[in-house]
Symmetry: C2
Subunit: 527 residues, 2 copies
């Protein structure tokens, strides 16, 4: 079923002579499928088709776009075991994780379909005319969101379904009315192709224009850079490393017409454990964090890479308890030799940093590509003075910073780079005595959690997945939840436009029965 | 009353040895007030104060911030003739225009105050917990908008009040909860200082923190560049030229932590006049456009610099009628010798372009710094082949493009750079025969107007002032209307946060009685 070809709209194409294969990290062998790197000509064709498709797709009703998204979900489910097996053999992740992620992906598509069916997401705003106003008449103004144009999506290594081919970026961009060109992730190109088949089939079955979706293979950076530079591409969605996201952001900013890039990148997700919580609930939190740090071999963007507390006997005991818990967790396979290679290299460099203590590194033999988890600790002064200690180590690694006092804790938090999440572990009301700590943490993160773990990103309207740079390249948007659609739309105003020529969303009769802001008041009434 | 000093929060400072003066274009002399260019040390102090003020200001209630904005409006009105006289002598614009723009400025401040008093603008979104959900409990998530941090505002030469010191950018940023540092426009530094006095006085009277507002003088680009590079500055608002806006955008994108820049820049605001409208309403539109092209010496960002029609006897007659109307309009003074210098230079270069016909250039003697309006025409093929003809000439200049047919018209529109506005002049229903033209125009603009002129930007929720690049650097935002506040805020999520520690906007009891999205439904009820 997997051909290794590029999807140029509804056409398949394999004109290039460069090929690559994916890797099964559990068996430690290459998978047999061969993928054809997209050529410049194929890139051009995909983008031109997307641009042509845009002229049609942007005018398709929300109801029909919803049908398309639901059909994608159905087609993904119909791939059944074929998809699950491909997912597992390209990632080393277990079947349960594959199915869970598939459920999340399908749920995201269905959620955006519901948003389109309801229709109020376009933020329709109407100010009616006052012809008699002095000194000049007030015009009739009507505003709604319209799609930006073709969007290029770069998927993540660690979420082959939920943050990749048909993940949140694709679902939200298609919902917005933007054609999507996916730059397939080379580590799971087969999973990507299967999902691309599902999208393509859904598009054809629901009568979407050819070019509304393309999937381009690439093992390197050239295809991605060409896509970002292409004048007909209007926005970029990316999930991955800081280096990768920043490179695309820089390319987009250098264009003669700069375009928006939403890159969700690295994070160490600081967790502050307050003294009373350590005193009273040391075991509970040691257990919870041992699980969170090692979940999915630590390959989550919300993995807790940094724990912070105030120096005490309790904190020392907690560090040991955590190490004790974590040493009993069986190591798991990482996604790819390149990922475990980077993990081991960065961990090795970190271990050489002065004043860093390795409390625990998994001591027993592990299978090839399996990651040895590690827990380290450092004092607050060392952490402040050495920015190398602030960097993300993608994998099951965490560092506990033992601060002098709450002032130093607040200072450290304030100096961290931007983060996806921050967490406060507090025993009952003790958080009230740490308002400066909470304020400093809040300033650096997109989401703040009380007495929990940062892993687990609920798909819900109130979720914010993003945050100050480098958690994302634009803290004003989210990658998860319905508001993710806002990345791909612009407001557009009509002045004194004839009612019959307005889009349905803005007509006097409000035929879609959506909620609109009319003369400053929300209403779903007709005018 | 004007001291020429910089406002570093509540302090005044004039440490620099570089000074400059503003210019009275009507009298053609320098104004007597001397302004002190801000030094690097003064820039640092202003930004540091803004950052300190942010810690306090972001937690001040909407009601109190509204008091602050209303007090600014009151203080501006209290400046009375002092402000009007300074405005006129620094711009050459008439008193009526000064008072009109002051009214707009005050209205904008009051509008944002109302938005804060009502409070729902924070877009509060709540998803309540489902502890019994399988396989994992659903957390309680609550999201609202929070301010980004210190914002730097660069005002426009052509709107010393409405788009400058206390203009839309400052009003929306202060409303968002962001301290503002204005880089004062050198052409109206005295007007800027008077308005800065009003803001500073309002801030002190309403108990706002020192540093919530600063005003820095500068005649060159260095102060602006230093501000954009400053790590504690978190966003930029700019109104002005493409060259200026793009330079700041590039600086911001190069930072180790890139920050958002909303620059509202150039536009030639294409106007399409359809054949039947020319046949039946030639006179009406010639009169209307003669006024619009020369309004304020053509110094509006929405000035109609490009008119397009389909070649015909009617179009030729319209061109002549327009020229006839416009030649009878008395030239007016431009803002500054530099502005008229650039106007005359660009007009002179344009006149040398091949196949461009000058239909009319005001022939009589004019006073110094007064602009001679000009109307030119060109055929569609020439316009397509020569991108120099697509550039903005800031002043009372317009070009009529005579297209071969509606296909060429649509093609030309589709190839234009992004524009603030586009206009269709149509006789009754004839627009229905030009759907491709309308579609092409809509794709390139932020606001589309039916049977009107683009000059006149209503301050209203449904206004979109912005558009595809280079009309703005980010088409997803507006510079005018309540949604302008969205440029300066980011969504922020709380997970399982204790109710009593949540901001009022997100508490169960909904003490502010705002409209919130609770489990997907808008409501102003408590939970």
């Amino acid at each position: 079923m997997v051909t290794g070809q590029n999807f140029i709209g509804y056409d398949r194409s394999a004109q290039g002579d460069q090929t690559y294969q994916t890797f099964n990290p559990i068996l430690n062998i290459e998978n047999p499928e061969v993928f054809y790197e997209a050529t410049s000509e194929e890139i051009d064709r995909a983008v031109n088709k997307a641009n042509q498709a845009f002229l049609v797709y942007r005018n398709i009703s929300g109801a029909r776009k919803a049908e398309f998204l639901k059909a994608i979900a159905d087609e993904i489910m119909a791939l059944d075991d074929t998809l699950v097996k491909m997912y597992c053999k390209e990632t080393g992740l277990p079947e349960g994780r594959a199915k869970g992620e598939r459920g999340r992906t399908v749920f995201q598509l269905q959620t955006f379909a519901q948003l389109l069916e309801e229709g109020s997401w376009v933020d329709a705003t109407i100010d009616t005319a006052i012809p008699e106003r002095e000194p000049i008449p007030k015009p009739d103004l009507r505003k709604m969101r319209v799609p930006l144009g073709p969007v290029v999506v770069f998927g993540a290594s660690n979420f082959p379904l939920a943050y990749s081919t048909a993940g949140g970026d694709t679902a939200s961009a298609l919902a917005a009315g933007c054609p999507v060109i996916v730059k397939s992730h080379p580590m799971h190109a087969g999973t990507g192709e299967l999902v691309a088949t599902a999208i393509s089939s859904a598009a054809q079955k629901t009568g979407m224009p050819d070019g509304v979706f393309s999937n381009l293979n690439s093992a390197g950076i050239e295809v991605g850079v060409k896509l970002v530079r292409h004048p007909e591409v209007k926005a970029i969605g990316f999930t991955g490393s800081i280096a990768g996201g920043r490179a695309l952001f820089d390319e987009a900013a250098k264009r003669s017409e700069p375009i928006p890039v939403f890159a969700e990148m690295g994070s160490i997700n600081p967790v502050v454990i307050l003294p009373d919580a350590l005193k009273t609930q040391k075991d509970k939190w040691a257990k919870a964090y041992a699980q969170s740090i090692t979940l999915g071999s630590g390959q989550f963007c919300t993995n807790p890479g940094l724990l912070l507390g105030i120096k005490s006997q309790d904190l020392s005991e907690f560090v040991n308890d955590l190490a004790e818990e974590i040493v009993h967790i069986e190591p798991t396979c990482m996604l790819h030799p390149n990922i475990i290679g980077a993990y081991e290299k960065k961990k090795g460099l970190m271990k050489q940093e002065s004043n860093l203590n390795i409390i625990m590194e998994y001591p027993d033999d592990v299978a090839v590509n399996y990651a040895r988890q590690a827990i380290t600790t450092v004092d607050g002064n060392t952490f402040i003075q050495n920015p190398s200690l602030h960097q993300e180590i993608f994998g099951p690694f965490s560092m506990i910073v033992q601060c002098e006092n709450s002032e130093q804790l607040a200072k450290i938090l304030g100096e961290l780079e931007g983060q996806l999440t921050g967490t406060i572990i507090s025993y009952e009301d003790e958080i009230k005595d740490y308002s400066q700590v909470v304020e400093s943490l809040g300033d650096r993160v997109g989401r703040i959690i009380f007495n929990g773990v940062p892993t687990g990103v609920e798909v819900a309207p109130a979720m914010l997945h993003g945050g100050p740079y480098p958690a994302s390249t634009d803290s004003r948007f989210t990658a998860v939840g319905r508001h993710a659609i806002e990345r791909w739309v612009r407001p557009f105003s009509y002045q004194n436009w004839p009612d019959e020529l307005l889009p349905d969303e803005l007509k006097n009769s409000n035929p879609l029965n959506i909620t609109r802001l009319v003369n400053g008041e929300p209403t779903n009434q007709k005018l």
